[in-house]
């Protein structure tokens, strides 16, 4: 098979995934708009509460401007067309365009999520390899017990405990936020940002590393039970050589794929972690938006988080198709 046709196939797959992603995003926009419209909370009342007392005339003016009196289908299409022109509306809570808030806060969230993602990937994969290579020995038993235990522990509680021990009692880390309090954002150094990231990202990474560790363990056991390992052993390859030549190479890509497919849990976890550590990211914004009935921001972040998850799933699917020759054969 030539390189050109290989690339063409990947492009075709990417195109199919693109179409699927757009259809999913469209559906999410319909569902979330319907859910928000069904809410008993009156957005006009919320808006007025934010700006102070208004007369009856002003109120009806606002209603007319927002189109509250129009049927919800019409309102949906108005919203959608504004959305496609890049206008996500104005946040009631922050009094600024939603798109601005999302892009600003996503940078913070992305830093947090990527740190946790890389960290949980490396730790989880290494622990999975240790367990898989030492199946049923004490290392395996201890680590897998730990993994099962961690999946029963609510992450936000663990975050609270870390905050208490390491920030309040020992004073090693700051209590919250992404930058030191009372400093202009231009003065904050990258080290200060990283310093504020340590606890939240560690908490967030604890949430997802057990699944990757257990998955890698299973994969490693499968590889170690295979016939080519038996043959390699018969040739006299040592444990390290076995691990490096066969175990590592066969397990690392599935693990990376799984990591990409876990963006939804990552984002969900970041909502909790950001609330515990008062971290100014998308997660703390979405819960604040829901509590304060900030509809435009809530809708905007819902769509954006779906896009984020879909991109992760798409990368996972593409990676999966590229690395697994068995799936490649079927697709041909």
């Amino acid at each position: 098979m030539t390189v050109v046709s290989e690339i063409a196939k990947i492009m075709k797959q990417a195109f199919i995934h693109m179409i699927r992603m757009i259809s999913l995003l469209f559906a999410v926009s319909v569902i979330s708009f319907a859910l928000v419209s069904a809410s008993p909370v009156d957005p006009v009342q919320q808006y007025i509460m934010g700006i102070g007392a208004v007369s009856e005339e002003q109120r009806s003016e606002i209603e007319a401007y927002w189109g509250v009196d129009k049927p919800s289908v019409e309102r949906y299409f108005n919203w959608l067309s504004a959305l496609l022109h890049g206008d996500f509306g104005t946040s009631l809570l922050y009094r600024r365009p939603v798109i601005e808030i999302i892009s600003e806060r996503f940078k913070n969230s992305l830093a947090l999520m990527m740190c946790a993602w890389v960290f949980s990937g490396i730790i989880g994969f290494s622990l999975g390899c240790i367990m898989g290579m030492n199946r049923d020995k004490w290392q395996d038993k201890i680590i897998s017990k730990l993994c099962y235990l961690l999946s029963s522990v609510p992450t936000f509680w663990l975050g609270l405990v870390f905050l208490m021990v390491f920030a309040v009692m020992l004073g090693w880390f700051p209590v919250g936020f992404s930058t030191p309090i009372g400093m202009r954002s231009s003065e904050v150094t990258i080290w200060q940002r990283l310093y504020h990231l340590v606890l939240p990202s560690f908490t967030l990474s604890l949430m997802s590393f057990s699944s990757i560790a257990l998955h890698t363990r299973q994969k490693m056991i499968d590889v170690m039970n295979s016939e080519y390992i038996l043959f390699a052993r018969a040739r006299g390859e040592g444990r390290w050589v076995l691990f490096w030549r066969h175990g590592f190479r066969n397990t690392v890509l599935p693990a990376v794929t799984l990591q990409f497919a876990s963006f939804a849990e990552l984002f969900g976890g970041s909502v909790l972690a950001e609330n515990v550590f008062s971290y100014p990211g998308l997660g703390s914004a979405v819960s604040a938006a829901g509590l304060n009935s900030d509809v435009p921001l809530l809708l905007g972040i819902t769509l954006f988080s779906t896009l984020f998850v879909c991109v992760g799933n798409m990368i996972a699917n593409l990676l999966y198709g590229m690395i697994d020759p068995k799936i490649r054969e079927v697709g041909r």
């Binding site: 609510p154 509680w157 509590l291």
Partner: protein, 285 residues
């Protein structure tokens, strides 16, 4: 394995794997019921405010300490746990029923139906669950109803996929084909062949969903959705404890969380044991 060795290990342990699992399940279930009933029966007075005894660290009178309003935290936590368990149980039951119905519909229906259902499952997995529950809760005006619907609506996907796979596999079996040739209707086959076969999967799926649902309930209440703030729910207690962390009231966060972890571990254990009992595949292990 030879028979003699098997016999020996059998005698050494006293019980076989399955009997042990049954005994353990019964003990765990009784323990859970006691905790649940205890939380349920605690009077309003026991969790009432007592400003004179506010912010007390753990002592014999108050093993978990008291909160900022002087409420006994052990009583509050137990009461909150019974609320969480109710919400988790109801939500996972609804979710498991949805999963079975959708799984069967996907596998038995047309190819188009299967495609649509798979797309819906992809959709559900595309929105982060926490965000989706926030949306649903917002839509239903917060409170218990939003919490229940939100958790029930987000937890069915993986079990539905499992059931779909199972039904697809069953459909190819010879005895189903024979049954069809003998003129039995689809409904008869569903009732007599498929559902009995799916019952263990359903039970196991339901039990394994239960701890997840409880954890989700706690985290959503923690964010301020779900139950109203005067309700004693674990998530609400933990959210309140955040305000007093820097003043050194460590017991407000540590003990309620520990008890929650303990309950989740208990349910998890119960689920694993019941799986050994119910699941025909692991019965012989």
């Amino acid at each position: 394995m030879n028979l003699a060795g098997h016999k020996k290990s059998f005698h050494k342990k006293g019980f076989n794997q399955r009997t042990k699992a049954v005994i353990l399940s019964v003990i765990l279930a009784i323990l859970m019921l006691v905790i649940y009933a205890f939380g349920f029966l605690i009077s309003e007075k026991a969790v009432g405010t007592d400003v004179l005894n506010a912010k007390r660290p753990p002592s014999w009178a108050h093993p978990f300490g008291t909160d900022n309003l002087g409420r006994d935290l052990l009583m509050r936590t137990l009461k909150g746990l019974s609320v969480s368990m109710t919400v988790g149980f109801v939500a996972s039951c609804i979710s498991a029923v949805i999963a079975v119905l959708i799984g069967i519909a996907a596998a038995m229906g047309s190819k188009l139906m299967d495609g649509i259902i798979n797309w819906v499952i992809d959709l559900m997995m595309g929105i982060p669950h926490t965000v989706f529950i926030i949306l649903i809760s917002f839509s239903l005006g917060r409170g218990l109803k939003g919490l229940l619907v939100g958790i029930a609506a987000t937890h069915w996907t993986s079990l539905a996929r499992l059931i779909r796979g199972e039904v697809l596999q069953l459909r190819g079996q010879h005895y189903i084909a024979v049954s069809r040739r003998l003129g039995k209707s689809s409904g008869w086959i569903l009732g007599h062949h498929l559902l009995p076969h799916l019952a263990p999967q359903f039970m196991v799926g339901l039990i394994l969903m239960f701890p997840h649902a409880i954890l989700h309930e706690a985290s959503i209440s923690f964010l301020g959705y779900g139950l109203p703030p005067e309700q004693p729910a674990i998530g609400i207690i933990l959210a309140e404890s955040m305000r007093y962390l820097s003043s050194g009231m460590w017991w407000m966060a540590v003990f309620p969380g520990l008890l929650l972890v303990l309950i989740v571990l208990l349910i998890d254990r119960l689920g694993e044991n019941l799986r050994t009992v119910i699941d025909p595949y692991s019965a012989q292990e």
